[in-house]
């Protein structure tokens, strides 16, 4: 029996909602799988498609971008730009044949520690059966 595949996931969390929501999950001592390395950014609107491509290129098995719910953005509307930009990224990656589960976006508010926990659990659960992401991964 080989060891179960543990996906490597990068999560871009906006500082004001999702990172705070993730903090709340911690404060509430919720538990979720340790596969995700969080990177805190100021706003989901600051996530360039390049970061997502790059994460996959450098071996991420999954990428999560999480921001404030529409209307709650600390910067008013950054998440709405993100929503449009990342919808395109998702469609593009899927057109290429990347499994749709590998790139995910979520809205997690500062109060949603439980939701953050669930998002991570779902993501890890969805990625495990897919195995390592080799399509976009660099192999020099």
């Amino acid at each position: 029996m080989t060891e179960e595949f543990e996906p490597k996931i990068i999560a871009f969390l906006c500082k004001w909602c999702s990172s705070a929501g993730s903090d709340l999950a911690g404060v509430s001592r919720m538990e979720y799988p340790p596969n995700v390395v969080p990177i805190q950014v100021m706003c989901s609107g600051s996530i360039s498609p390049l970061y997502i491509f790059s994460a996959f290129n450098r071996g991420a098995d999954g990428v999560l971008v999480s921001g404030c719910h529409p209307g709650d953005c600390h910067y008013i509307k950054g998440n709405l730009y993100a929503r449009r930009r990342l919808a395109l990224v998702k469609k593009l990656l899927e057109h290429l044949g990347l499994e749709p589960q590998r790139f995910r976006m979520s809205w997690v508010s500062a109060a949603e520690g439980q939701k953050y926990t669930q998002v991570i659990k779902d993501l890890v659960r969805d990625l495990k059966p897919l195995g390592p992401q080799t399509k976009l991964r660099r192999n020099v």
Partner: protein, 343 residues
């Protein structure tokens, strides 16, 4: 029918009266009958202008060069540059106007309507002629092309040899112009995104297999980005060294150059390059199809760009390259933008 003589006459007049700096048009290469870009400076140069189904090039691309050249000149000639555009090319120009890369006053647009046809796909034509060499391709009669080979002229229904982009064209005549020749009847296509549907319908693994084989062929000659009027960045993600540096650029700034992608034609790096190109062209690509035509190894690049154009339309109701005053696709949003993919 576009009267070529009218175009020549106007070009002659513009050059004679000094209204334009020069004119970018097409001329025919007598050796193979194919059109090539021509840069006309004197009134008599206008005689060389050609207009036929081999006028595939998007001449708007050369306005990018013009802008760069002009920026370096000390006392630049401020007259507009004349440029011959088809419908698709004019939409590229709209994007350059939208992105303030070109000012309307700097360009004199000579628009030509493709009417009911468009330009020929050289590869399709070669196949149709079964090895015979076309020495001349002309529009008409009606929705046909007249193709002359060593064995004489034949009539080929245009639809059989039209470039893929023309089959899905949503602007058969220029959307912006100073002079517009030919019929201005809007041609409607049944499905402007038909070509992406077969691939869309495949399961992920088969899509991937398709693309993997395609991108494996890429030799990173960058003809796709070089021929593209929208790829006017001074420095591309794919460039391995810092370009936009000058003698006084500080070392820290030079060190900011990120090596996102290796120069090696590895599958992953080729894909990265094409992914970035596709996303950077989302909402900007007007499907002139030049990248696909220029590709020496025949990678179907329109499949990527067309997909993005389709999503812009379907998800955001955004049509690319018609209105220079509209915000760019990614610099605006609608409250009702879909978010069902966000959970």
């Amino acid at each position: 029918m576009v009267k070529l003589e009218d175009l020549k006459e106007e070009a002659r007049r513009l050059l004679k009266e000094g209204k334009v700096k020069y004119i970018i048009a097409y001329e025919r290469n007598p050796l193979d009958g194919r059109a090539v870009p021509a840069f006309l400076r004197k009134p008599e140069d206008a005689d060389r202008i050609a207009w036929d189904p081999t006028c595939v090039h998007n001449l708007v691309r050369f306005l990018v060069d013009e802008k760069r050249r002009k920026a370096k000149e000390k006392n630049p000639d401020t007259r507009p540059v004349g440029v011959v555009v088809k419908g698709c090319d004019s939409r590229a120009l709209v994007i350059l106007l939208q992105e303030k890369f070109i000012e309307r006053k700097d360009v004199h647009i000579l628009g030509l309507s493709c009417e009911k046809t468009g330009v020929a796909d050289e590869r399709k034509l070669a196949k149709r002629l079964k090895g015979k060499k076309a020495v001349r391709v002309e529009f008409g009669p009606e929705d046909n092309f007249t193709v002359t080979t060593q064995d004489g002229a034949v009539t080929v229904p245009a639809a059989e040899v039209l470039a893929g982009r023309c089959l899905e064209c949503i602007a058969n005549f220029p959307v912006v112009s100073d002079l517009l020749l030919g019929e201005k009847t809007k041609r409607t296509v049944a499905n402007a995104f038909a070509s992406v549907e077969p691939l869309e319908s495949l399961p992920p693994e088969e899509k991937w297999k398709f693309w993997q084989e395609q991108f494996r062929k890429c030799i990173r000659c960058y003809a796709c980005r070089s021929v593209c009027p929208m790829c006017y960045c001074d420095e591309c993600v794919a460039d391995t060294i810092n370009f936009a540096v000058t003698a006084d650029t500080p070392a820290e700034e030079k060190a900011q150059k990120i090596k996102w992608v290796e120069k090696s034609p590895l599958d992953s790096e080729n894909i990265f390059y094409h992914l970035v190109r596709a996303i950077h062209l989302a909402g900007r690509c007007i499907d002139c199809g030049e990248c696909e035509r220029a590709c020496p190894v025949n990678i179907p690049l329109r499949q990527l760009n067309k997909k993005m154009e389709k999503e812009a339309k379907v998800l955001f109701g955004y049509e690319v390259g018609f209105d220079p005053d509209k915000p760019a696709l990614i610099s605006c949003f609608r409250d009702e933008d879909p978010q069902d993919f966000i959970r």
